[in-house]
């Protein structure tokens, strides 16, 4: 089942689907993967020689950062497809991904700040990667706020799609910031030829990334369904208002002449 095969707009959403058998499978897999990731993070992976145990924050920090990039990529791609085919499901997917991206970026910033306090003795530094990441966070918070300020729904969708596409420009800037400018962050240790990470650490990072990715798709599906349901609710509310107007007009015309 593809991501866009979710219930049609005017279909009752029924109970949240994660509680069906598919939900049971998804949550069981998530529990197993998270448990495995926890084991690898806290027991299997060796402590880093210089930083000690606090370096174990890397696994959650890097995984959430990558998934935030994925979210914003989904926002951009959904925006392009929406502008092309005007299918509102892509707009709903973009909103869902943007909100989740903001949540994951928040987690990245918080874990980075805690890690920084331990090894740099500072909660925050105007390091290129930190600065470009906080800019990324603000871009997508602005995207979400912008959507609430435009009343015309078709204009809102178009503007949001364009904003989401251009907002993604900051993602490669965040990624390459450690190469373009002097940074407290190390350059990418995984993508470098030969790698700068021991095999146990790399395995732990990959396992954590898989666990968080499963979590990401579960929450993306839920948030997408919420967006579709909210739109259905708005349509129904408008229909109720229209029906009320018709009833009032009918009552006015049915008043017999001579009576006020």
């Amino acid at each position: 089942m593809g991501l866009m095969d979710f219930p049609e707009r005017h279909r009752p959403i029924g109970r949240p689907p994660v509680f069906g058998w598919r939900g049971l499978v998804a949550y069981t897999a998530l529990l197993a993967l998270m448990s495995a990731a926890l084991y690898l993070i806290f027991i299997f992976a060796p402590a880093e020689r210089v930083q000690g145990d606090v370096q174990r924050l890397l696994y959650g920090h890097v995984s959430t950062a990558w998934l935030a990039f994925l979210s914003f990529g989904i926002v951009g791609i959904s925006g392009i497809i929406f502008l092309w085919n005007k299918d509102t499901r892509w707009d709903s997917l973009a909103v869902a991904a943007a909100e989740i991206g903001v949540v994951f970026t928040t987690v990245t910033l918080v874990t980075g700040s805690i890690w920084g306090r331990s090894i740099w003795n500072a909660w925050w530094a105007w390091d290129p990667r930190l600065t470009t990441t906080i800019v990324l966070w603000f871009i997508y918070v602005a995207y979400l706020i912008l959507r609430t300020y435009i009343d015309d729904i078709s204009v809102r969708r178009r503007v949001a799609a364009i904003f989401g596409i251009f907002g993604f420009v900051d993602v490669p800037i965040v990624w390459f910031s450690v190469q373009w400018w002097r940074s407290l962050h190390p350059v990418q240790t995984i993508t470098q030829a030969g790698g700068g990470m021991p095999r146990e650490m790399l395995a732990t990072l990959l396992m954590t990334l898989v666990a968080f990715t499963v979590f990401f798709f579960i929450v993306l599906r839920q948030r997408y369904l919420l967006e579709r349901a909210s739109e259905e609710g708005d349509d129904l509310r408008a229909a109720v208002h229209r029906q009320l107007d018709v009833s009032v007009a009918a009552a006015d015309t049915s008043v017999p002449e001579g009576r006020t």
Binding site: P16, L57, V107, I114, L226, L236, S247
Partner: protein
């Protein structure tokens, strides 16, 4: 406990608190929106002119 372990625990505590808190929030919102949709449907059916007296 070593200070770095405290930071480690706070860090992962924040990760799971925010992420699972968000999942619970979204699931709860789906429930409340679903209930609102059902109420609106009932309201539409009740007020519909096609509804038999």
């Amino acid at each position: 406990m070593k200070q770095e372990l405290v930071f480690l625990m706070i860090g992962y505590g924040a990760v799971w608190l925010v992420l699972f808190g968000y999942l619970v929030y979204v699931t709860g919102r789906i429930r409340s929106v679903r209930d609102a949709i059902q109420d609106l449907r009932h309201e539409l059916d009740r007020d519909s002119p096609d509804t038999p007296e």
